[in-house]
Amino acid sequence: MAAVNLSMSNQSKAATRIICWNCQEIVCQFGNCSSCHKLLPQPQEIDPFTLLGVEPSIDVDFETLEKNYLKLIHQFHPDQFITKSQTEKTIAQSYSAQINNAYKALKCPFSSSKLLFSMVFGQALDDIPDPAPVLLEIFELNEKRMYLTSIIQAQNFVHEIETKIDTAVGEYDAAITQKDQLKAAHFLKTFLYLFKLHQDVQQNLLNPSFDQAT
C-alpha cells in the first residue's frame, strides 16, 4: 500500500488521464485503474528521476533511489501478473523494463548526470565539444598520475581529486541554477573525468602490484 502512495505522490504531476482499456472509464494513468483495478499502461515519457521519486541532482540520494526502485519493481514485476490477462502481462513487462532501465541510469553518476544535463538544457552533453580548459586540466592530472611512485603519493593524489570533485559539483549545481549551459557543460565534463580518474587510482591502490612499483 505504501508503494502506491509513494508513487502516486511522485507521479501525480506527470499522470495524464486515459481511458481504461478494460472498463472504458476515464482515469488517471498510474498503476491500477481506480475503477476496475486492472493494470494500466504506464506513461513512457516520464523521466527516471520522477519515476523513481528522487531529486534530480548530480548527487543522487542512493538510499531513496534503492528503496523506491525495489518498491516499484516489487509491485510491477511480471511475476505478479502471471495469472492476469495478457494485456496486463504485456504492460507489466514493459513497465518493469522501464523501471529497471531508469534505476540503471540513475545508479551510475556518469549516466545520471548526463541525463540531468539533457533534461535541463535539451541537448546531449556528448554533442558539446570539450572546452579547452577542461582538456588542459585533464592532461596535467594525467601527467601527475604517471609520476606517482608511492602509496602515500597516490593517497594524496586521491585527496586532491576529491577536493576538485567537490568544487566541480558545486560549480555545476550553480550553473544549473543560472541555466548557464556552457559553464554547466564545462564542470560536468570536469566532474565526469575526475570521477573516472578517482575510480582508477583507487583501484590501483587496492591492487598489490602497486606495492612492487615502490
Binding site: L70, Q93, A97, N100, N101, Y103
Partner: protein
C-alpha cells in the same frame, strides 16, 4: 513404477482447479526432480525412497522410448545420457540421433524426459498438471532457454517461468533466512556450473551477478577419473554410457572413502587396482580451479568483497565431492552451507516459486541476463546492446544507419557473448530488414530494439523511422525447432494437448471479445453523442458481427473481428479523451 509422496494420501490443497496448480521441475543433466507446495511447504516428490529420476532416455528401433530407471537397464536400443549438455547447441550433429525411422534432437529427447516426469507427477497427485516452473542453468544462453521451453511445450507443459537454478536454490534457502546481506550460491551440477550473488531487501530477492559454464560439471569429473585410470593402465577405455556410469559410481564412493578398489572387464582383459582420493583430487584440480576463476568474475561484477558476503551455499550433487567443499571454504574463508539436500534444493525452490506465481507471493525474484547481447556491426565487430548482469525485464534500443547510397535492406545479426568479434560469440539469429527507402548512405535511421522478458528470452525488433517498416524476430528460431517442426511434433506427440491449447486460445479470444463488447457498449451509452451517424453505425455493426461470431466457436473467425472492433473503438476513445479534457 510406484510413485509416492512423503505424506501418502494428501493431495495438494484440494478443490483447486487445474489452472491453479503448478509444479516445480529441476531438469538436471543427470537427474530430474519435481516438487510442489503442500500446506505452505515445498514437498519433493518421491519414488519409494528415491526423489531423483535419471535424466536418461533409451531410444528403440521401433520408435519406442524408455525414460528414467527403465532406460538404464541393460537393453537394446540407444541409451542417451546428459542430453542437457546438448541444449546449448541443440541442432549440432552430436545432439541429433536417428534410431530406426525416427530422427531425434536434443529438444525432442528432453521432451520425452519431461513427458515421463509429467505422467509420474500426475499419477501420484491423481490429477492433471498443465503448468510448471522449470529451472535452467543461470548461464544458459537464449538458444538453450528457447529449446527448453519448446521441449516443455511438446510435453504438454505450460512454462509459467524459466527459473535460474541458483536463484531457485536461493529461494529454498531464503525461506529460512532473514539477513539483508548478500550471499553466494555455488551450483555445480552434473553438467553445468553456475555461481550467483544475491541480495534480499524490501521484498525483492535480487540477483546482483551471475557467471558460469554450461560445459563444466560432475560429468567432467567422471571423464577426468576415466582418464586417470586409462593413464594408470596405459590403456583406452571405450567411451560408452556403461563406462560413464561405472566411473560415476567410483566418484561417488570416493566422497566417503579414502581409497577404493576398482575393476572393469574389457573385451580381452580385466583391469583392476586401487584409487585414492588424493589421486582423484589431483585429477580434478584444473576443473575446480576453473570454477573459482568464474566465482571471482561474478564477485568482480558485484563490486563487493568476499567478506561482505553473509554466506556461501553449495548446490548440486557434485558439491558432495570433498575437494570442492575444501576449495570453496578456502576461497571464501568461510565454511559453506549445504543443510538442504543439494540434489533437491533447486526443485524445492522451483516448487515454491510455482506456488508463489499461482497464489501470490511476498517476495519477488529479480534476475539478470547472464551473457551480453549484441549486434554485428561493420567489420564483424560486436556492438553490445544489453550488458551481462542487467536486471530483467529490460528493453534497450540503438539506432543504426545505412552504409551504401540507396541501400534498401539491412541485415541484423544478433549475437550473444562477451567477446569483441562476432566469430567469438554465439550467433542467435539473422534477419533482413527490407523496404528501407533509398537514401544517401548514413541518413536512414534504423532503430533496433532488444527486449528481454523475465524468462531471459530475447525478442528483437528493427524499425525504419520514416516508413515505420517494422520487423521482429523472436530469437531464436534457427537453433531450436522451427515452427513447422514444432507443429509436427505437437501433432504427433500430443494431439490432445494441442487441441487443449486451441481450446484455451479460443476461450481467451472469447473472453477478450466479450470484454471489448461490454466496454464499448458502456462507452457508447455515455458518449455516443460524440460520433457522427456513419461512424456510430459502423461501430454498432462491427459489434454485432463480433457478437454473432462468438457462437461459431471458431477462433479464426472471432480473432479478426475482435481485432477489427478494437481498431474501430480506438478513435472513439481518442474523441472521448479530447472531450473529457475540454470539459475539465
Amino acid at each position: 513404477m510406484l510413485l509416492q509422496i512423503c505424506e501418502p494420501g494428501t493431495t495438494p490443497t484440494p478443490h483447486e482447479t487445474d489452472d491453479n496448480i503448478a509444479v516445480g521441475i529441476d531438469l538436471g543433466t543427470t537427474h530430474t526432480v519435481a516438487s510442489i507446495m503442500m500446506n505452505g511447504r515445498p514437498v519433493v516428490l518421491r519414488w519409494g525412497h528415491q526423489s531423483l529420476i535419471p535424466s536418461a532416455v533409451r531410444l528403440f528401433e521401433n520408435g519406442d522410448v524408455a525414460v528414467g530407471e527403465d532406460a538404464l537397464k541393460p537393453n537394446d536400443g540407444k541409451l542417451v545420457l546428459s542430453i542437457k549438455r546438448s541444449m546449448t547447441n541443440s541442432t549440432a550433429p552430436e545432439a541429433t540421433f536417428t534410431v530406426g525411422h525416427v530422427k531425434w534432437s536434443a529438444v525432442t529427447i528432453t521432451a520425452q524426459i519431461l513427458k515421463f516426469v509429467k505422467n509420474e507427477i500426475e499419477s501420484v497427485l491423481g490429477r492433471a498438471i498443465h503448468q510448471a516452473v522449470i529451472t535452467v542453468p543461470a548461464y544458459f544462453d537464449d538458444a538453450a532457454r528457447t529449446a527448453t521451453k519448446q521441449a516443455a511445450q511438446i510435453a504438454g507443459i505450460h512454462v509459467l517461468r524459466l527459473l535460474n537454478e541458483p536463484t531457485a536454490a536461493a529461494v529454498a534457502y531464503g525461506m529460512n533466512m532473514h539477513s539483508q546481506n548478500a550471499f553466494a550460491i555455488y551450483d555445480l551440477g552434473g553438467g553445468t556450473f553456475d555461481v550467483s550473488i544475491l541480495k534480499p531487501s524490501e521484498g525483492v530477492l535480487r540477483v546482483l551477478s551471475t557467471a558460469g559454464d554450461t560445459q563444466l560439471g560432475g560429468d567432467d569429473f567422471d571423464k577426468a577419473l576415466i582418464k586417470l585410470i586409462e593413464h594408470k593402465h596405459n590403456t583406452t577405455l571405450p567411451s560408452t554410457p556403461q563406462v560413464k556410469l561405472w566411473a560415476r559410481d567410483l566418484k561417488q564412493q570416493l566422497t566417503h572413502k579414502k581409497t577404493i578398489p576398482y575393476e572393469i572387464d574389457l573385451n580381452d582383459t580385466k583391469i583392476h587396482g586401487d584409487l585414492s582420493v588424493e589421486e582423484f583430487d589431483a585429477a580434478i584440480k584444473p576443473l575446480v580451479d576453473k570454477t573459482l576463476t568464474i566465482v571471482d568474475q561474478a564477485m568482480r561484477d558485484t563490486k563487493l568483497t568476499k567478506d561482505q558476503l553473509d554466506s556461501v551455499i553449495l548446490v548440486g550433487g557434485s558439491t558432495r565431492v570433498p575437494a570442492i567443499i575444501k576449495a570453496v571454504e578456502a576461497h571464501f574463508s568461510k565454511s559453506p552451507l549445504s543443510y538442504l539436500n543439494p540434489d533437491e534444493v533447486v526443485a524445492m525452490g522451483a516448487g515454491i516459486q510455482a506456488g508463489a506465481l499461482t497464489h501470490g507471493a511476498n517476495t519477488v525474484l529479480l534476475d539478470v541476463i547472464p551473457i551480453s547481447l549484441g549486434l554485428e556491426t561493420m567489420g564483424g565487430i560486436v556492438e553490445k546492446i544489453i550488458h551481462r548482469n542487467t536486471s530483467i525485464p529490460t528493453t534497450q534500443s540503438q539506432t543504426f544507419t545505412t552504409f551504401v547510397d540507396g541501400q534498401t535492406a539491412l541485415t541484423i545479426h544478433v549475437v550473444q557473448g562477451e567477446r569483441e568479434m562476432v566469430n567469438d560469440c554465439r550467433s542467435l539469429a539473422k534477419f533482413t530488414l527490407r523496404n528501407i527507402p533509398p537514401k544517401p548512405a548514413g541518413t536512414a535511421k534504423i532503430t533496433v530494439t532488444f527486449q528481454v522478458d523475465a524468462d531471459g528470452l530475447l525478442t528483437v525488433t528493427a524499425e525504419e523511422e520514416t516508413t515505420s517498416t517494422k520487423q521482429s524476430v523472436e530469437v531464436n528460431p534457427t537453433f531450436g525447432l522451427n515452427e513447422e517442426e514444432m507443429i509436427a511434433h505437437l501433432e504427433s506427440a500430443m494431439k490432445h494437448a494441442q487441441s487443449d491449447m486451441r481450446k484455451r486460445l479460443l476461450e481467451e479470444a472469447k473472453v477478450e471479445s466479450k470484454r471489448l463488447i461490454q466496454a464499448l457498449e458502456k462507452a457508447l451509452s455515455l458518449d455516443s453523442c460524440l460520433l457522427d451517424a456513419a461512424t456510430l453505425s459502423q461501430l454498432q455493426n462491427a459489434t454485432a458481427d463480433l457478437k454473432t461470431s462468438l457462437d461459431t466457436q471458431d477462433i479464426d473467425t472471432i480473432k479478426p473481428l475482435c481485432e477489427n472492433l478494437e481498431r474501430l473503438s480506438h478513435s472513439f476513445a481518442e474523441k472521448r479523451i479530447a472531450h473529457a479534457i475540454r470539459q475539465s
